[in-house]
Assembly symmetry: C2
Homo-oligomer: 238 residues x 2
């Protein structure tokens, strides 16, 4: 007895096809074109049939977004793993570059991830696939800083010099990740993450076009600064 019935397999195939068609529409016609009806047409079925698979438009959108997170996560992990476990610097740089490469190669998808923003922590139920996928994505970066911290701790600010309110948040977060990083190292992690991800956000949302068409050099400089903060020697790509 196979654990998945034939029916279940077909169902999974259809679910996958729906998301694939949605993505194709996103790429070819933009986010507004990703409608239940358009997907159904493309698949040669009637509109309401799609509701057998996703309860409503929002749920479909979330599933597609989760796919994007997962694909991005896999690519970052793959890039990271082109270097042996000990090579923290190369692993980190590779995965960061993979992040940007994906974002640039899949602009509509990356924009989509931002534009339908993680509805503030409180809103999204913490066990939804989207939330999970988002966490696992962030984890790729976090894990590497944790690993680095364990083997080759980077410089951190003195905890008592950080504003008390901020300190408490860092302590809470440190607890939340099982003390894998102490609060002051979590602060460095956050700072790095904001730099990296914030820059990509601006690039992909076309907020840098006024001055740049090619943002890669700025991104590399960002990576150089990241290395600085983490006491790693920057190395150019290639």
């Amino acid at each position: 007895m196979s654990p998945v019935s034939r029916r279940e397999k077909l169902r999974q195939d259809t679910l996958r096809e729906i998301r694939a068609v949605a993505r194709e529409l996103l790429r070819s016609e933009g986010p507004a074109a990703v409608t239940i009806n358009a997907i159904a047409r493309q698949m040669g079925m009637s509109g309401p049939a799609v509701y057998r698979y996703y309860a409503n438009h929002e749920e479909l959108i979330e599933a597609v977004t989760a796919d994007f997170y997962r694909e991005l996560t896999v690519e970052m992990e793959a890039a990271r793993d082109t270097h042996p476990p000990g090579e923290h610097r190369d692993r980190l740089l590779s995965s960061c570059r993979a992040l940007r490469a994906w974002a640039v190669r899949h602009r509509p998808e990356f924009r989509w991830v931002f534009a339908s923003p993680v509805p503030s922590r409180a809103a999204l139920q913490p066990d939804s696939p989207l939330h999970l996928a988002g966490c696992e994505f962030g984890q790729v970066f976090l894990d590497q800083l944790v690993e680095l911290w364990k083997t080759r701790p980077f410089p951190v600010p003195e905890l008592h010099r950080l504003p008390p309110a901020h300190r408490e948040q860092l302590q809470a977060y440190s607890r939340e990740i099982g003390h894998a990083l102490p609060p002051e190292a979590a602060h460095v992690f956050l700072t790095c993450w904001i730099r990296l991800y914030g820059m990509l956000c601006m690039e992909v949302l076309n907020q840098l076009d006024f001055a740049c068409s090619d943002v890669e050099p700025l991104f590399e400089e960002c990576l150089r600064e990241l290395c600085g903060m983490l006491a790693l020697a920057y190395a150019p790509p290639g």
Copy 2:
């Protein structure tokens, strides 16, 4: 003879009211609720009447977005001008804090500005009100760096050490702003802008909630770093 006829005045009032109602809907019911019909209902007129004022939904959205840019610009300028012209440090910090204050106080609006992103440089016609408002917004920050550069130049990288492709873009941009900043100073401007704006982008798009509910301390640290890059002595708010 008044230069604006009575009719024109009424028209401007209605245009303003449409945008105000749109904004109210955005705040109270979210971006999806900002529809031509809902606005018309709220104003007690029939749907198609709105088309006398805005040719289509997109044009209305653009006008509202331009309003947001303008309001934000005004607030930043006002904050800047609470300090006398010579006080570069205080003026810059005040306007940056005003930027974040507006973003946090008007989250839906700020999100909206990002989420309906400046359609890449090529797309948007350069004389549209939205594009203009966006430029004027960026100008608030740029102008201050220009002023600072003229009176108290900040450290810059050596131009020949930047990647050639990047150098060319910076040269083009420098030309575009009438050489108000040389390319290497434009590079510093860009770096600062990305830090500042990128961080806000992440905060407002709920990408930092996983660790922080109060991002202010991180923002202040960002300002501290900005001051460092610009050879200014950071000063806390208040």
